[in-house]
């Protein structure tokens, strides 16, 4: 008899656990539908406008050697999968109608542009239905997406896969600027950046000369390095003129390096960024790393040339926003004074 009760109790416990998971989902869909009447109304306001736009006033946009046809007025932009475009939108002050979320929410960095924006699924899982509801003029996706996803998105609206390679940052910025009609702003941003880089390079170039400069990401307590064209590396090497260490030149993707190897590389200047999702507030795991005698023996750490999270860890590195923020952070970091 007792056994039976136990079994019932157990099963109901499991069911409760399952239901809890389901409830979470229900809550988000409810959330989605609470905004949808407004969307439906808005969409209802110009039901025929969209297709008419597409046929009558369309234009062609060139991006990375490919042509895309978009409506002349592309106000309704949806961003999915491309954090790069989110950052560009932040720089240009473009508010997307729909954008991807992180754990159901927009990252606080993007608060400025996500007011009134509808969440359309997570970074790697665009919710096609939610996007369809928004009747977008154009969708900015990521080159990280598989071809099938792009194809599906293309059926909703013209989809442009935005490059995740850092060196395409100017093209990415110009793409969004052209879509949103903010070319002047983009031009200005690029202009200022180039001037500032030039200025900083002159000051910092002599300091970085013959020094080993390295940017790493700390993820789950392990350290990772990236190829020369990814992460903040173009800022450090191409823009500010530091020499890329052999290990960075050799890297083809994100690579795990041991502390031992890091200590052998022995960088003189070390930039550490955390993984986007972890240790944002109180980096305990990183504190442990800092207590490690091998870590303490690295030149950069010994000489106070360690720079931790000088830009928000959400920043991808290869975008106008990241680059401007990084440049500013380096400028403010006091590296110039250390001779």
């Amino acid at each position: 008899m007792l056994k039976k009760y136990c079994a019932v109790l157990f099963v109901s416990l499991m069911a409760a656990a399952l239901a809890a998971c389901g409830a979470d989902k229900a809550a988000t869909t409810a959330n989605g539908s609470s905004t949808s009447p407004a969307v439906a109304q808005e969409a209802g306001g110009k039901p025929a406008a969209n297709p008419a736009n597409a046929t009558a006033e369309s234009r062609t946009i060139q991006y990375l050697g490919k042509d895309y046809t978009v409506p002349a007025v592309a106000d309704r932009i949806v961003i999915t999968g491309s954090v790069e475009s989110m950052e560009d939108a932040l720089v240009l002050g473009v508010k997307p109608v729909g954008a991807m979320t992180t754990g159901g929410k927009f990252a606080p960095v993007f608060a400025e542009i996500t007011e009134g924006t509808v969440g359309i699924g997570e970074k790697t899982q665009p919710d096609i239905e939610a996007i369809l509801k928004l009747k977008p003029d154009v969708i900015l996706a990521s080159t990280k997406f598989p071809a099938e996803t792009i194809e599906k998105l293309n059926k909703v609206a013209t989809t442009i896969p935005v490059s995740h390679i850092s060196t395409d940052w100017e093209a990415n910025l110009n793409l969004l600027a052209e879509l949103a009609g903010k070319q002047d702003k983009a031009k200005q941003v690029l202009q200022t950046y180039k001037e500032q880089v030039q200025e900083l390079k002159e000051k910092i170039g002599p300091i970085f000369k013959d020094k080993k400069v390295l940017a790493i990401r700390v993820r789950a307590g392990s350290t990772f390095i990236y190829p020369e064209s990814v992460f903040f590396n173009p800022s450090l090497y191409a823009d500010l003129g530091a020499e890329a260490p052999a290990e960075v030149k050799q890297a083809k993707a994100q690579h795990l390096i041991s502390l031992e190897k890091l200590s052998e590389m022995n960088p003189d200047y070390l930039f550490v960024q955390f993984a986007e999702s972890e240790n944002k507030d109180t980096p305990r795991v990183f504190e442990e790393l800092q207590n490690n005698p091998i870590w303490k023996s690295i030149n950069a750490v010994k000489n106070g040339n360690l720079f931790v999270n000088i830009v928000d860890p959400v920043a991808q590195g290869g975008t106008a926003y990241s680059k401007v923020a990084f440049l500013k952070a380096v400028k403010d970091s006091g590296i110039q004074q250390t001779k």
């Binding site: 993820r219 307590g221 795990l256 972890e278 507030d281």
Partner: protein
Amino acid sequence: MRSNKLASALILGSSPVLIVLAILLSVLYGAKEIDVDTIRDALFHFDPGNVNHQIIMHSRFPRAIGALLIGAFLAISGAIMQGITRNYLASPSIMGVTDGSAFAITICMVFMPNSSSMEMILFSFIGSALSIFLVYTLSTLLPGGLSPVRMAILGTIIGTFLSSVATAVATYFQVSQSISFWYNARLHQLDPTLVKLAVPFAVVGILAAIWLSKSISVLSLGEEIAVNLGQKTTAIKFMATGSVVILTGISVALAGKIGFVGLIVPHIARFLAGADYRWIIPCSGVLGGIFLALCDVLSRFVNYPYEMPIGVVTSLLGVPFFLYLIRTRGGEKRA
């Protein structure tokens, strides 16, 4: 009962030499070139200001000893699981131990990103114990649930359930990448504190395993024979599973998921040592430890200068060797 005492004695007798050799290799060859003199100095005249000494004592020795211990833990747990379930495909993972740990770590990473690595290890261990507890509760409640096959099925079901919930949560909160690194490449993070943490578990788990080994041999003949021989099978199973939880739980917590050691090493031990678990368990321990320590050395060089997840190396070596064994020894009625 067939057993090959000569081979077992040979393995166990030569094990100190092999273990020392594995430690030597592991300490000698790493990402950084450090010569023998420096290593000797680090051992006998340790200088905290010397980076190389710190690397030797703080990274290479813990890593070598950790790999030996974890390899032994996994192989012993595998041998026990195969013995008590009479299933040659059983390995610690079949009881959902790793999945339970993955579940706990995911929850921890998402909702308590502020945890220190020691807390994470604790969570991992609790997760492992939780999944075993679930499996046992279900087994005792269901009619005939304690039969080896049913228990393995329940373990797989609970494991799959936990791991799918964990995957869903990880994907939703976008921590999958961090989680995958937490599980696939952690041996290089071992430091003296963590290795010291493993020692009490090692003593309890391994002693329990050796103490139980005779009963496991009996149990491996089948439940009925064991009962007829007067064995309290349920008690033995509980204790054996207990030592599996301790050994596997701590391995997963310290080093993440390492495949094949728990499945293949016990087979190799059985091929060499015969059917008596009094020999299989210690031989598995020795072989598993040495195997993992050598794999760890290789993992530093497969993709030099970057680290390769050790699971890749264990399967690269383990699979061909296993196929070879099946081919050459497959005629015998074992698997």
